[in-house]
Amino acid sequence: MSYYQAEIERASYETMRELQGERLVKTVKHAYDNIAYYREKMKEKGVEPGDIRSVDDLRKLPLLSKEYLRDAYPYGFLARPLSECVRIQSTSGTTGKRVVAFYTQHDIDLWDECCARAIVAAGGTNEDVVHVSYGYGLFTGGPGLNGGSHKVGSLTLPMSSGNTERQIQFMVDLESTILCCTPSYAAFLAESIQSMGVRDQIKLKAGIFGAEAWSEEMRRDIEKNLGIRAYDIYGLTEISGPGVSFECAEQTGMHVNEDHFIPEIIDPDTGEVLPLGEKGELVFSCITKEAFPLLRYRTRDICVLTREKCSCGRTLVKMFKPMGRSDDMLIIRGVNVFPSQIETVLMNAGYPANYQIIVDRVNYTDTFEVQVEMTPEMFSDEVKELSERENELLTSMRAMLGISPKVTLVNPRSIARSEGKAVRVIDKRKI
């Protein structure tokens, strides 16, 4: 069994608590001094940085929701001068609703280390060829695993997403051994490898797949079709990116890098902290970050934590696969989509905010349809004009969401309503 940082990954509970406490105390002071939100909210609650002495005091701190981050765009939560920052990453979303995360070199290093732990847990060494097919750019997937792979010393293939034939060509020619991408892209690659007839030339042994929900059944399929072990990885831009938690050989949940990110489970309605093992909303506090040290950030992921002994030898607390959301965010093909974004596009384009989002999964790939009700105002006798309007709508949806839905114009009042309230999202995916 190998570890990237064994002393941390196998630390005793007491050692970890102590380390977390020290780091938390420091970060709370840092956040209080540099971020108006924490200063104001802590004053409101009558809490001072000095009141936070250990992890037990964490619950005294205010929770942070994504709305505040959006409102503070872009610099509201920046805790270090820009001259010390070296990178930004950003969540998908509208211009107004984007969240921009800042990183100092120290922050990038710790993020890369988290990803390195994930790669080593998946069996990676400096002998490996790590094939990164996550998107590179503002999305954290590509840069995160890329950095992790560098730390491990593996040969890194910064493939980014798309161009499947070239992906497979490189996979064959450079003998990629570890694949990093979304699970749906892994399934698609497996299919393409099959149809190109090069399955016997593929040297993959493991895959690290995240950024979207996937089922156990899908895991087994990918493992069988690619001849690999498939590992889950979890993360979010606000906290750093992929590598907030990662799966080990046991494949029964993801170890949280809790020396950097303290997880809590709260009741999404009351904000109250729930005991270990109970289901609730996952909340993270960053305790080592410099530029963007979010404390008690609500992920909206519904999840369970466990400290049951893991056969891999790691003592890091484990989180199970998130089993839902406490808000209406959808993750479609790895991209975060809020129904409100679609509403905004429709209203800007002159359509009524009467729509329905239909998400399904066909052959492990998400399908995404937006049904829009036609109105007398938007109707025209000319096909050309209607098609133009439809195209404009598609263009603005793509610009807003980062992915393209299929837009279907439907009859007025044909969208199902339950008790007068329209059902906005139909998610048929069985995950």
Binding site: M374, L386, N411, S414
Partner: protein, 147 residues
């Protein structure tokens, strides 16, 4: 009813769903509306049903109350001889006058030797003028609705 030189054509949004067209024609049937002429324009995603009916106002009302999206467009109806070259002749008149045709469709009537062409042109006024200059008679609304 006032008689006009242009015809009210009703356009109906047709969602791309099996049975939708049947539903629309059923609405008209139930309201006792006679269809005089029709055409369908379609794309991969939706269609536009264009109809000329016996009583446009009542048809509109019936369709609207059944939650159909409708609009009214002024079109011209021209009676032409049911013989080779007659359509070409009127299209030439429009072309020479630089009036572009958005779309057209034709139908044959019970009256022998006679066909009607429904024309949607860019400039209806100008088209009516040049037709008059060339002695082409456009049918008035009464003539078409009461066919």
């Amino acid at each position: 009813m006032t008689i006009t030189m242009t015809i009210d054509q009703i356009s109906v949004f047709v969602e791309n769903k099996p049975g939708r067209l049947a539903e629309i024609t059923e609405i008209l049937g139930a309201a006792d509306i006679d269809l005089r002429a029709m055409s369908i324009a379609d794309t991969a995603d939706f269609g536009i049903l264009r109809i000329i009916v016996s009583e446009p106002d009542r048809a509109l009302e019936a369709l609207k109350s059944a939650n159909c999206v409708v609009s009214v467009t002024q079109v011209l109806a021209v009676a032409i001889e049911d013989a080779p070259g007659s359509l070409a002749k009127i299209l030439r008149i429009l072309a020479d006058a630089d009036v572009s045709v958005e779309y057209l469709y034709a139908f044959i009537t019970h009256t022998e030797g006679h066909a009607y062409v429904i024309l949607r042109v860019e400039d209806t006024g100008r088209a009516t003028e040049v037709f008059a200059e060339h002695g082409v008679k456009t049918a008035d609304s009464h003539e078409i609705y009461d066919l």
